[in-house]
């Protein structure tokens, strides 16, 4: 009997979608994927009044949680932080009886303005993306989720001109397929600095 498919939840946060060159097409790709539930947070909560019950139920209903966003000051856009502050409650996500997220898989799909060289100790951003996202990694840890390496597009402001978007979207499609069908080598995916560097080797036939 085939293994049951994993359900994927994409929480998308982009406050200026009319100017988006990377995230909007990437999100559209996710929307067309049959195994993915796509939530545009700025669309659903334009006034930031997040429905806590609804969001918690969504988390319960899915196996994989993906934060999809453009990097804003080395972190998530404001609504995604608001979402964390409100939804990951004591007694739900952590603390006494807070085990709702235990065993789920978590990862970030990000676009960053700087080049990959910039996100190194010697570069002007001094830290790698994985290092900068440590607050989220620890959040995953405290809530008992498996934290995978981030899926990143660097140099996002020149990606369209350099024809790199199509390949990125293609990789996202493969990643979603692998996650849904449980074909991703999770142990490796956890330990790498980036997910999309050697994606092909992570996907089991």
């Amino acid at each position: 009997m085939p293994e049951e498919k994993k359900k994927i939840l994409v929480l998308f946060a982009h406050p200026a979608q009319e100017r988006s060159e990377i995230n909007k097409p990437l999100f559209t790709e996710c929307q067309q994927h049959g195994d993915v539930t796509c939530i545009d947070l700025y669309h659903e909560y334009p006034t930031f009044h997040i429905d806590i019950d609804k969001e918690q139920q969504r988390l319960v209903d899915h196996d994989v949680v993906i934060f999809m966003f453009p990097l804003y000051w080395y972190s998530t856009p404001a609504i995604l932080k608001q979402w964390q502050d409100l939804v990951l409650e004591y007694g739900f996500a952590y603390g006494t009886n807070g085990t709702a997220l235990k065993g789920k898989t978590f990862l970030c799909a990000i676009s960053a303005g700087g080049s990959e060289d910039a996100y190194q100790e010697a570069g002007y951003n001094h830290f790698s993306i994985r290092e900068l996202l440590q607050p989220l990694e620890q959040t995953a840890s405290l809530t008992g989720m498996e934290y995978l390496a981030p899926f990143v597009l660097f140099g996002s402001r020149s990606a369209v001109e350099e024809n790199r978007v199509h390949e990125h979207i293609n990789q996202m499609h493969q990643l979603l397929n692998a996650l849904a069908n449980n074909k991703l080598d999770l142990a490796q995916a956890k330990s790498l600095p980036l997910l999309n560097k050697n994606l092909a080797t992570l996907i089991q036939a």
């Binding site: 006034t47 009044h49 806590i52 502050d85 409100l86 409650e89 004591y90 603390g95 006494t96």
Partner: protein, 644 residues
């Protein structure tokens, strides 16, 4: 008197039967009228000699049509379209006229007759083409837009043609006409102001009368309409509109100018007026009926003997004319880079001759330009080409479109920028804000209000608005509700707002209805009538004031904001059940006058609900950003210690 009744009944009866039938068959109303005329005229022979007199009367419909064409011509729109209008439209008329005139000369026509025929056949049928475009949803395509600009240019070009044609009169025809008139003896003299004036005086009189139309239209019409509008009598407004059109037509006839030219000018002058839509909806029915009558008389006048004896030439001419027109259009489409299926649509849709052809033909006969037997035959060609047009559209749908469908899929994806127009009914304080907000975001709006003072105030601050009662179907029609994306209903009369909602929902189900409610009961009535989005006019401002009050009383602003959101959520939770309660109640006692009592009851129900849910509400407000319980950290350090 009895004879008049019977005749009128025959004409109306024919129209009532034939026109809807023709429309259903996709032939359009113009052909419906023509068929009706053919049936009651040559086929059954119910009507006969009076058609000629009737035709002169019915020609007044053409005068009204040109007034309406003028009204539609906003100078700014014309300016925006100038390249397409003059380039595409001008070349279409020029080239087609040239080719057909050359053809006429080749067949041995006198040059003036050949030129007139060329001009007549250069025109296409605005009525059929625009009707078909809107029925088949083609108006927004590239081909449709370009065809529209050509049609618009043709409508304008009719004016100079009307001026030019009398100059092409054939001397021998004039002579013949004069000798006939001479035999008829003492043919009563046409009224004229200018008979016997010297040339320079005639020129001055002409200029003066045109000045009267333009200056009077601009400065005098407004106070006149305002005076009439303030009386609030609808039929007097209609009378005023008719008076204006007939008056101008009379003035123009008196000085020997074309009445159509005069009313067209007046229309252009009034195109920017706030009374435009009201004028249109008042004149429109008269124009429609008179034009219909005109086409019936054309149909009734068709001589089947002429057709039978000339069947070959008529068919040949029709095919030739349509081919020439289509080829010219196709070439122009190529030059102007109209691509793929749009090129075909553009060429095929405009290949017929138009209703103006009939008008010009009868005009040419009156002015002794074309002999009447030739005009008879050309009428047949015009009619036949119009009959064939639906066939061309079917050809386009079934043969051309499938060929291009595949390759055009890519292109259609990025054409979603078209947002459509929003009609705003009622432009009081509420409608004004909505209008300003939408316009600031580049949404086209059409604003309607029945209070002339309100409309004038808005005109002063450059808001495009029109006088008229928005609850009248014909005014909504002239305001363009068929193609509108949405109507915002913000009129002050509660019952009429509900009626308007019902009407729009029923007649134009595609148009979204956003309505302002006066109170909760009105809110439910609007919802029941089918409004898509309803807002109570005081709701948000009252909540906002409540929030500010809390802040002023010492509640932290952020907390006060949360409280407000909670109240709104609570209301939302109860809205549906309250609506059901209201519906059940109003169905039981549909005609009871105790609505007010009912709503007091509803308010009490809400208040009660809020009290009983107080604990929940509290919990909800407290819930966001709740810190973990004191001492919670112990469990983490415990487990860490356990792990290490």
């Amino acid at each position: 008197m009895t004879a008049y009744f019977i005749q009128a009944f025959i004409y109306l009866c024919a129209a009532v039967i034939a026109v809807p039938l023709a429309k259903r068959l996709g032939l359009g109303s113009v052909l419906g009228y023509l068929i009706a005329g053919v049936i009651i005229g040559p086929v059954i022979g119910l009507v006969g000699s009076e058609t000629n007199t009737l035709q002169h009367f019915a020609e007044f419909g053409v005068v009204m049509m040109l007034f309406l064409v003028g009204l539609e011509l906003e100078p700014r729109m014309l300016w925006d379209m100038r390249n397409k209008l003059i380039g595409l439209g001008g070349l279409q008329i020029g080239l087609t006229t040239l080719v057909i005139t050359a053809g006429g000369l080749y067949f041995g026509l006198v040059w003036s007759v050949a030129l007139t025929v060329g001009l007549i056949f250069a025109l296409s049928s605005t009525a059929i083409v625009l009707q078909t475009f809107s029925e088949k949803d083609l108006s927004k395509t590239e081909g449709g837009k370009n065809a529209f600009s050509v049609l618009l240019f043709q409508d304008i070009a009719v004016i100079p043609m009307l001026a030019l044609i009398p100059l092409l009169a054939l001397p021998e025809l004039i002579e013949k006409a004069q000798s006939i008139a001479g035999q008829a003896a003492e043919h009563h003299e046409e009224l004229s102001l200018v008979a016997g004036l010297p040339g320079w005086a005639y020129g001055i009189v002409l200029l003066l009368s045109i000045a009267i139309v333009v200056v009077g239209g601009h400065y005098l019409s407004r106070p006149l309409f305002r005076y009439v509008a303030n009386s609030g009598l609808r039929e007097i407004f209609t009378a005023t509109a008719l008076m204006l059109v007939i008056g101008i037509a009379a003035l123009m006839s008196l000085v020997g100018l074309s009445p159509a030219l005069g009313t067209f000018l007046a229309g252009v002058v009034l195109a920017n007026s706030e009374f435009r839509h009201e004028l249109e909806s008042n004149i429109e029915p008269f124009k429609g009926l008179l034009l219909g009558l005109f086409f019936i008389t054309v149909g009734a006048g068709i001589d089947f003997n002429v057709l039978a004896s000339n069947i070959g030439p008529v068919l040949g001419l029709t095919a030739g004319v349509m081919l020439i027109k289509a080829l010219v259009l196709f070439a122009l489409a190529f030059i102007f880079k109209i691509k793929n299926s749009d090129r075909w649509l553009f060429a095929l849709s405009l290949a017929q001759a138009g209703e103006f052809g009939f008008v010009l033909l009868s005009y040419t006969v009156q002015n002794h330009v074309i002999p009447s037997d030739l005009a008879q035959m050309l009428s047949l060609v015009v009619a036949l080409s119009m009959f064939l047009t639906p066939g061309l559209f079917i050809f386009f749908d079934k043969v051309i479109l499938p060929k291009y469908e595949h390759s055009e899929n890519d292109r259609e994806a990025d054409e979603i920028t078209e947002k459509g127009t929003v009609i705003i009914a009622g432009i009081g304080r509420f409608g004004q804000l909505v209008n300003r907000f939408l316009r600031a975001n580049k949404i086209d709006t059409v604003v309607l209000d029945h209070q002339i003072s309100q409309v004038e105030n808005l005109k002063k601050i450059n808001v495009k608005s029109f006088y008229g009662d928005a609850t009248r179907p014909d005014l909504l029609h002239t305001a363009g509700i068929e193609n509108a994306a949405m109507i915002v209903i913000a009129i002050d009369n509660n019952e009429r707002a509900v009626e308007l909602t019902k009407y729009v929902k029923h007649t134009y189900p595609k148009v979204k209805i956003f309505a302002r409610a006066f109170d909760r009961g009105h809110h439910f009535e609007l919802k029941h009538a089918g409004a898509d989005f309803i807002i109570s006019e005081t709701y948000h401002s009252a909540l906002e004031l409540g929030k500010e009050a809390l802040i002023s009383l010492g509640v932290h602003p952020f907390k006060a904001e949360q409280k407000k959101a909670t109240l709104r959520e609570l209301e939302l939770c109860y809205k549906d059940s309250l609506y059901e309660m209201w519906k059940a109640n109003s169905e039981d006692s549909k005609y009871s006058t105790h609505f007010r009592d009912l709503f007091i009851e509803l308010e009490t129900a809400i208040a009660k609900a809020m009290k009983s849910e107080r604990f929940d509400e509290q919990a909800k407000v407290e819930r966001g950003w709740t810190p973990p319980p004191k001492g919670y950290e112990k469990q983490f350090s415990d487990s860490d210690e356990g792990a290490s």
